[in-house]
Symmetry: C2
Amino acid sequence: MAKPHFRLAHDYEATWERFNLAFQLVETALDQRLQRESGMPHAYYRVLAALAESPRGALRMGDLAGTLHFSQSRVAHSVTALERKGWVVREQCATDRRGQIAALTEGGRGALDRAAKGRADELRRLVFDRLSPKQAARLGSLCETLVSGL
Amino acid sequence: MAKPHFRLAHDYEATWERFNLAFQLVETALDQRLQRESGMPHAYYRVLAALAESPRGALRMGDLAGTLHFSQSRVAHSVTALERKGWVVREQCATDRRGQIAALTEGGRGALDRAAKGRADELRRLVFDRLSPKQAARLGSLCETLVSGL
DNA sequence: GAAGATTGAGTGGTCAATCTTC
DNA sequence: GAAGATTGACCACTCAATCTTC
């Protein structure tokens, strides 16, 4: 006789609940701090950071979407907003006329640098100061398991 | 000489990145499935579930906010939307005339029950089928550590 | 026709201001 | 004045439709 499986086991439910809450607490704190100090949500910080970490400080829209796991339209909207702030510019792709490239500006690099400390502070305060290095590693490895195979 | 601490250690950055991604993947899947099958986002499912788990199928706005860790205004907006769907009704609180109570309707209970299976399926598929019971427990305990002390 | 990207409408959320009752 | 709750403006994201180039 198979179990009904309409609901999750109670402790699994609690586990997901905690996961949800933990993420939400940190993400909310990051959003508030970055919004207050730098006028950007955490998602936009990640866009700037992704560009900064790429060789030319520039990425094609699709690649940006891929590395951040954003939808194409989300990237398009984000870049539009960041362009309005003067932190990013769109450029034509040389090899494919369909392609658009988002490039970090000087101002964008500055904004990213100014935002970085507050973000790191929050992450330490809410996550990595509360976990031993071993626990942090374990958390990373568990999430890696969940993510691997996308 | 103290370390600069403007950025996070590289492996901590990667850990948070994975945590973020893992959560986002699951939450997106839950949202899509619930939206498609039941016309509600996962956040609204949680509201209905919180009401259903309470003694009378009803909670004061503030308590609802507390258990879900939502802001007051988020609760107000959510309940308005759920009321429009006919899944919840507002009632006056008897003991405090400032108080408002959100009460689950019959229709709301039905919607919750119909949504529950798809949600449980997704959570199993993306989380609990990919983790051993021991791993799931470890994840829960790590998140508990992050959450405790709010 | 498929791939890269944008657009606009609709929705869920935040924040600050407000209203009422304690 | 503080607490409970709502409101409205604004913002980020989703989804479906569209446009252009491969």
